[in-house]
């Protein structure tokens, strides 16, 4: 699991955060599922994983999982989530105890789509597809999950 701690992320956003985008994402998910079904929604998430995150996926392919860790650290910090990342010999575990995205949608919409967390599960799967790593997502409850990177070998 190579380390590139000083290199900036491919998408290294800073400045303020617009949490209402998660509300628009929730509306989009509900629209897509109702009109085209879950498979279509997953296909779009898969493209996010393979195409939008092409750079991060390329690093995974090259055996570098640290870019995903940096991505988690950067964006979960920006969004004020309650989380931690444990780096072990065989696996890296991101534990999200309070996902601010999920809770923001719950607050502004009153309900969160049943497929809201599919964005995490499917993007992780697509990111790891064809790489030496697997990224599994375990939903532990409303707005909490674990994401685990393991070597496939």
């Amino acid at each position: 699991m190579n380390a590139t701690p000083d290199a900036p992320l491919r998408y290294n956003e800073d400045g303020n955060v617009h949490m209402d985008f998660h509300g628009a994402a929730n509306t989009t998910i509900e629209f897509l599922v109702e009109r085209y079904g879950i498979a279509a929604l997953h296909e779009i998430f898969r493209r996010v994983g393979t195409d939008v995150y092409q750079d991060m996926r390329g690093k995974l392919m090259a055996g570098d999982s640290q870019e995903v860790v940096k991505h988690w650290q950067h964006f979960f910090t920006r969004e004020g989530a309650d989380f931690n990342i444990e780096i072990g010999a065989d696996e890296i575990v991101l534990t999200v105890r309070h996902c601010t995205a999920w809770h923001h949608v719950q607050q502004i919409h009153g309900a969160v789509s049943a497929q809201f967390c599919d964005q995490t599960t499917v993007v992780n799967q697509a990111l790891a597809e064809g790489t030496p790593f697997a990224i599994d997502t375990i939903i532990d409850g409303p707005g909490s999950c674990r994401q685990i990177i393991r070597s496939r070998g």
Binding site: Y11, T28, F31, V48, R78
Partner: protein
């Protein structure tokens, strides 16, 4: 979680998918987003008019890190975008950008202005540049006059550009 910072790149993928389904599907999606946005802006417009628009887009300017000017007088509200972070991110993207990415703004704002009795004139200028000018008029005649000088006039569901 797709970070809120990356929503626009997810949005871009949704647009490409929907374009493949057809223009009507895109319009239906713009209307759905418009309905979602009503939660944030409709009451402000109905109770405060241009001042409500000013308040809404002031929050957007700050939270989305936009470089823009806002102002209004008795006749119109005006937003001049100097650097749009949404298009900038859609372009700074390992995935291909949807070439009509800018259409989504008028796509959700137009229906809200129709609903509240205002008249939108949306000049995207150039779909490849992260700049635009949005004017919202109380008087329809003045809106039609303002369309004359527009470089790239946007339409929205239910209203094609002339």
């Amino acid at each position: 979680m797709i970070p809120s910072d990356h929503f626009t790149r997810f949005y871009n993928e949704v647009f490409k998918f929907l374009e493949g389904k057809g223009e009507e599907d895109l319009n239906d999606y713009f209307l759905e987003i418009s309905k979602n946005q009503e939660n944030h802006i409709l009451e402000l417009i109905r109770t405060k008019g241009f001042e409500g628009m000013y308040q809404y887009w002031s929050v957007i300017r700050d939270e989305e890190n936009c470089e823009l000017d806002l102002g209004y007088d008795d006749d119109k509200f005006e937003l001049t975008m100097h650097l749009c972070p949404s298009l900038t991110k859609a372009k700074d993207n390992d995935a291909e950008r949807w070439d009509r990415y800018c259409d989504h703004c008028a796509g959700w704002i137009g229906p809200i202005m129709d609903k509240t009795g205002y008249h939108l004139v949306y000049d995207v200028i150039d779909r490849d540049k992260p700049q635009c000018v949005m004017r919202i008029f109380k008087d329809e005649e003045k809106a039609r006059e303002a369309e004359v000088d527009v470089r790239l006039l946007m339409g929205w569901p239910g209203r094609k550009p002339r």
